[in-house]
């Protein structure tokens, strides 16, 4: 029944907006977490330490001289590795800059007419490091230029942007916090709310009307999806404006995974509410399920840092896949094609838990 469905959605939205505690907390908590963790852990990344790899293709006297000078430049730590590895780690953000001294550098320096060139690869998406990086390289080269007779500038810098973006801890953290928000809002939120409605006979009263449980559940899901999408959006906006976190992937894909996560955890919440022996035990049970998930879901630190025996568990439960998917879309612009694994595992979780939720749903206290 359409009328009942719309009224139920409206009622749930009103209840949510009017229950000030839950409304404020469900928004403040992720923001607070972001700010706390962002300043505690993320702040240090900004302390200036450029990690640079210098590739000397020329191996001449003057090129070696330049490399030595660059190595001594303030704030620069050099990592010795092959050119291929260096460019790869630059893409992965393990390096801030790769400087290539091309073949023929020495000859160019020696000749009167030719100008020697140095190529600098760096992520130009990250303004702070790229500016400072350029400045340091330019400064060093300037010194060398000045030593050369006639004060004729002999070396040019050729800058090359790399199409990667600097990922900071915040970029990693925000999708994790979104996943956490979706999990706790829905799993814990639904379990607590349904259990309390059941305890206070609100559900039993509805059972006394022709309302079908399907309409009731559909109304709940719709309202909660709306709430979660708005909340996720607010968190992303705050993350963007305070911490400069960007969404590199498609908003549509992101929205899809927010919905899928919401539906999955809501279904699990319904199951918990139905299976709890007493209404009072529903919340603790939901907490017991979601608390460990906070740590093995890759929310605050990558899943690969977990011990091996946990890896199997992590792969089986939905939270890690939700985090992976959100992180993939936000950080790396991942698409459905590259997110097949989380997509199918989450879909399976949703279908199975939704079916179980629908089958076990009851209005009444047992």
């Amino acid at each position: 029944m359409m009328k009942a469905y719309l009224q139920l959605v409206k009622a749930q939205l009103l209840l949510f907006a009017r229950n000030k505690n839950s409304f404020i907390w469900s928004l403040l908590l992720p923001v607070f977490m972001m700010i706390a963790l962002g300043t505690l852990l993320g702040g240090d990344n900004e302390q200036f330490a450029l990690e640079v790899s210098i590739i000397d293709r020329d191996n001449s006297v003057s090129s070696k001289e330049l490399v030595q000078a660059l190595k001594k430049a303030p704030g620069v730590t050099t990592v010795d590795q092959s050119e291929k590895n260096a460019l790869a780690s630059l893409k992965k953000n393990e390096l801030q800059m790769v400087i290539v001294v091309p073949r023929g550098f020495g000859t160019a320096m020696a000749s009167k007419t030719e100008k020697a060139v140095v190529t600098v690869y760096q992520d130009q998406g990250n303004l702070s490091t790229s500016k400072i990086g350029t400045a340091i390289v330019a400064g060093t080269i300037d010194e060398i230029n000045k030593k050369i007779v006639n004060f004729q500038p002999r070396i040019d810098i050729k800058e090359k942007g790399i199409s990667t973006h600097q990922l900071k801890y915040m970029d990693f953290l925000v999708p994790g916090i979104l996943a956490l928000l979706i999990m706790s809002n829905n799993l814990n939120g639904v379990a607590a709310q349904i259990a309390s409605w059941r305890e206070r006979s609100i559900l039993r009263r509805m059972q006394g009307t022709p309302l079908s449980s399907g309409t009731f559940i559909a109304g709940q899901m719709t309202a909660r999806i709306l709430i979660n999408v708005v909340q996720a959006f607010v968190v992303i906006l705050i993350a963007h404006f305070i911490f400069g976190v960007n969404v590199y992937g498609s908003w549509g894909t992101l929205l899809f995974f927010v919905l899928l996560g919401t539906l999955t955890f809501m279904s699990i919440g319904f199951i918990v509410a139905s299976l709890a022996k007493t209404p009072e035990s529903a919340s603790p049970i939901a907490g017991l399920i979601s608390f460990p998930m906070m740590f093995i879901g890759g929310i605050f630190f990558p899943v690969r840092q977990l011990p091996d025996f946990l890896q199997i568990v992590v792969q089986a439960i939905p939270i890690g896949h939700l985090t992976t998917a959100l992180r993939g879309v936000m950080n790396n612009g991942a698409t459905f094609a590259t997110l097949q694994v989380p997509l199918w595992i989450l879909l399976t979780w949703f279908i199975v838990s939704f079916t179980v939720a629908a089958l076990t749903f009851r209005w009444d206290v047992k």
Binding site: M1, L8, L14, R200, S201, R205, G208
Partner: protein, 303 residues
């Protein structure tokens, strides 16, 4: 309107509703009177299709309440013993929500007026007084204009004024031609509101009739009560003119059941004189439903 046969409910090895049968006539207010734990709520919720019965048949407005639940729910309206409304919805929103569950419903305005809630239209349920909340619960019970209404202890916990105003509402619902089944543990309420009363205790119906008839069926029509600690004279009291029964109530109160009040008193006074016990605090009254209840269950209802 309602036919119930052999209705039974067990929880574990406890039979909380024990093979009860009764009928409710169209347009009457039928009261179920019983102390805490008598089985009133259980009985009503089985009739409302909210709990499954273990045995028995229930037919309401021609619908088999156990088999045709969907159809049943269109026909009946209910107010449950526990509040069961959303705290953070307003009066109007609550009515609109429940109205949306039915294909046809009365308008919100009609209900607000009929239940004296116009001024509270925008108030959250959380902030309503007990009486207002009960009025809202009953308004929601009739939102789809049902023929049969179940009210489970609608006035419990209300002050006398709120109780009176709720009685008016219930009487008005009967005037509109509805059949009302209500439970209560207030004698006065049962006596004033109900056309017929079933007295229930320990899952059984002990008596069922109109209040007047229930009282009339008592063996004696009057009661004489006075405090007396000494139990030595109890034998003598039963020989007084008209006395059919001598009952010891709590607090050393003695109660004489008599058909001939004047004669009993005439005999009692000389007796008191000769044995020198004071008749301080003596009272006489005609029998009430309270006495009917006492007679059937051996205990008082109100305390």
């Amino acid at each position: 309107m309602i036919q119930v046969q052999n209705l039974t409910k067990r929880y574990g090895n406890q039979t909380v509703v024990d093979h009860i049968s009764f009928e409710v006539r169209e347009g009457e207010i039928f009261g179920m009177l019983g102390p805490n734990g008598a089985g009133k709520t259980t009985t009503m919720e089985m009739m409302e299709g909210l709990r499954d019965s273990d045995e028995g048949k229930i037919k309401i407005a021609g619908v088999d309440a156990k088999k045709q639940k969907k159809k049943l729910k269109q026909q009946i309206g209910m107010q449950l013993q526990s509040t069961s409304l959303f705290d953070y919805l307003t009066v109007r929103e609550s009515i609109e929500l429940y109205a949306s569950f039915y294909p046809h419903s009365q308008t919100v305005e009609e209900l607000l007026v009929a239940f004296d809630l116009v001024e509270k239209e925008k108030t959250w349920v959380k902030h309503l007084s007990g009486g207002q909340r009960q009025r809202l619960a009953i308004a929601i019970a009739v939102v789809h204009d049902p023929k049969v209404i179940f009210l489970d202890e609608p006035t419990t916990g209300l002050d006398p004024a709120a109780r009176r105003s709720l009685w008016d509402i219930v009487l008005k619902l009967r005037e509109e031609g509805r059949t009302i089944f209500l439970s209560t543990h207030y004698m006065e309420e049962a006596e004033i509101l109900c056309d017929r009363i079933a007295i229930m205790d320990h899952g059984k119906i002990l008596a069922l009739d109109t209040p007047r008839e229930l009282i009339r069926q008592l063996a004696t029509t009057s009661r004489v009560e006075f405090p007396l600690i000494d139990r030595a004279y109890d034998e003598k009291f039963s020989t007084l003119a008209g006395v059919k029964k001598v009952v010891r109530l709590e607090k050393n109160l003695i109660q004489l059941h008599t058909d001939q009040l004047a004669e009993t008193l005439q005999d009692l006074i000389p007796l008191a004189n000769s044995y020198q016990f004071p008749l301080d605090g003596i009272s006489t009254r005609t029998a009430t439903l309270e006495d009917v209840f006492l007679e059937h269950t051996g205990k008082r209802l109100s305390q």
